[in-house]
Symmetry: C2
Subunit: 356 residues, 2 copies
Amino acid sequence: MKNKIVRIKDIAEKAGVSAGTVDRVLHNRGKVAEEVRQKILAIVEELNYRPNYEARALGSNKKFSIAALIPDYTSDPYWYDPKLGIDSAEKELAQYGLSVRQYLFMLDRADSFVEKAEQVSDSMPDGVILAPVFYKEAIPYLKRWHDAGIPVIVFNTEVKDFDPLSYIGQDSYQSGRLAASLVHYGQPHPCSVLLAHIDEDLGNSTHLMRKEQGFKDYFDDNGLADRYTVKRVELKRRDYLAFIRQLDVILQSTPDLRSIFVTTSKGYEIAAYLEDRGIEHIKVVGYDLIPRNIYFINRGLISFVINQHPRGQGYWSVHQLADHLVFRKDVPQYKYLSLDIVTKENMSYFLEQEHR
Amino acid sequence: MKNKIVRIKDIAEKAGVSAGTVDRVLHNRGKVAEEVRQKILAIVEELNYRPNYEARALGSNKKFSIAALIPDYTSDPYWYDPKLGIDSAEKELAQYGLSVRQYLFMLDRADSFVEKAEQVSDSMPDGVILAPVFYKEAIPYLKRWHDAGIPVIVFNTEVKDFDPLSYIGQDSYQSGRLAASLVHYGQPHPCSVLLAHIDEDLGNSTHLMRKEQGFKDYFDDNGLADRYTVKRVELKRRDYLAFIRQLDVILQSTPDLRSIFVTTSKGYEIAAYLEDRGIEHIKVVGYDLIPRNIYFINRGLISFVINQHPRGQGYWSVHQLADHLVFRKDVPQYKYLSLDIVTKENMSYFLEQEHR
DNA sequence: TTGTAAGCGTTATCAA
DNA sequence: TTGATAACGCTTACAA
């Protein structure tokens, strides 16, 4: 029952070789006789060796520069939080020689994405963090980086092409189901509910379609379809008058509408509309703790938001890349962040937290 | 704009002294001329020095043994999770020379607590982790360890006496408010709700009283008192027949009862009763993802539980102690874990997670 | 193909 | 009151 920590030195000793050789085996840098290799591997197994990752980083003393290609947050407050998460992870990892350079593109201009992506490519980073909002435009770069052996982390929107190192974000389908269950719990009696996409190009946003599917499936799978009617709508808030008109029409034609689920962080647009119209009997469920949503949660006009951990997405993206580059750990291909239900009474914890 | 990491060596150089002297200043081990001390402190400030904690642990190469005094989990599944959290933290921190010895006492026997506490004292640990279930009995030991300079972490139940190093757990009052808001959201129409304590010695459990207060305050503060009636009851499940009888009486005398809030992890007792009686119109809100609760969440008989992060409590207790002993960080006096709302559709994330 | 030795940021011991 | 120095676990030139 010896709890002694196993070091490389111990393995070397037991195998009758030097620490350098063990290290070479551990990192597959070849130049080791196959026979010796097998022996060392066996001992590693037997002694249940666990590397000291910090010492590893300390010893190797390398510098890594990584590039984060993310939306400019001035046009959409949601994107401020990933930036904060990236900042805070960078601070933690600076002592291991990691530095992050952020490239911000405009959310409404694909050409700005392309321009920044070019810059990223030119900078020859050791790794890339990408929010693939412009999915189609991102493809050629994903290919280029893949071919160049540059590891890529995608976050927020799942992308499977050119196998990125990993995806950080939520399970959109399950997120839709969760939203539906919240809506349902709040409406014990039969009624109509509305699912609303606001200001989104659904062609470029498969994750929103998955949320929608999850939402509908919840009602179907639980045999609620005969008592609850699920409507859907795509709203354009950019044309304010049309936005209002669309909602007015829906409400008039759906007198038993009791809940609205907004698939993005723009729940506040609906809340503002309801407040404006003096409507109190319709409950809203949405996403994310951005300032305008917080305001309406506190006033009771938004019942719940599901936290997508924008800060955590940035934070974990950097960490995942550091685990790969600096600590040379195996990193999981998916990191699904938890689906957290936030309401007025537990909100403060989610505002404080750095990450999850 | 130099991003260079500041090392002790840099400070030493700039101050014209050796690294040893800087180290002595940083750790207040005296034997440094006051003048030099001031100068070094100024440079530390100026250069914004951040210690490399892992290198610190690596360099100091000390061993720490800590004692965890926690309930035996065979009599109450809730207490299995803190043990798991402690185990997993121990594994992570073993490479820094930390080891944890667990002392398990019987939940229903104060003398067993005293016996184990004696053993802990005799073992002369470098730190103690304590779940102060037997609050009154714990006092003399808290005093003894405090006098001996042994840092103590209390978790799960807040204790202020003999200033422990820190408290890890939840804000019970806010937790009660959150439960009330969930109950309220699920009952748009006026009704009665029941708050139930099960099998608890309320004299030794101030945290349960705080939950109760928070629960009641939510209804009062939101002007709901005229539409919702909050009843309370203390149930003893140990006498099964009496337990059933009590519930039968309450339900008969309260025909408009629609929701029950259980202040501990024993929500499953109520759910089982309701299922047994074939009652479907009463919703249950409780605590924690123990197996019996998971079962009833999946069957829809428990709507929500608030996760008290039993695993995280153990995990963070060990880490907090390690931060203090091994890494010599300043540790916060309180670590309030987040109030997470768990339902069938997001449960899996909370089952997987190691900690929060 | 393998071993040696220096070095990463920090601490601790010992001599000055 | 100070400064050197070895050590912690690991990596990496470079020499053998």
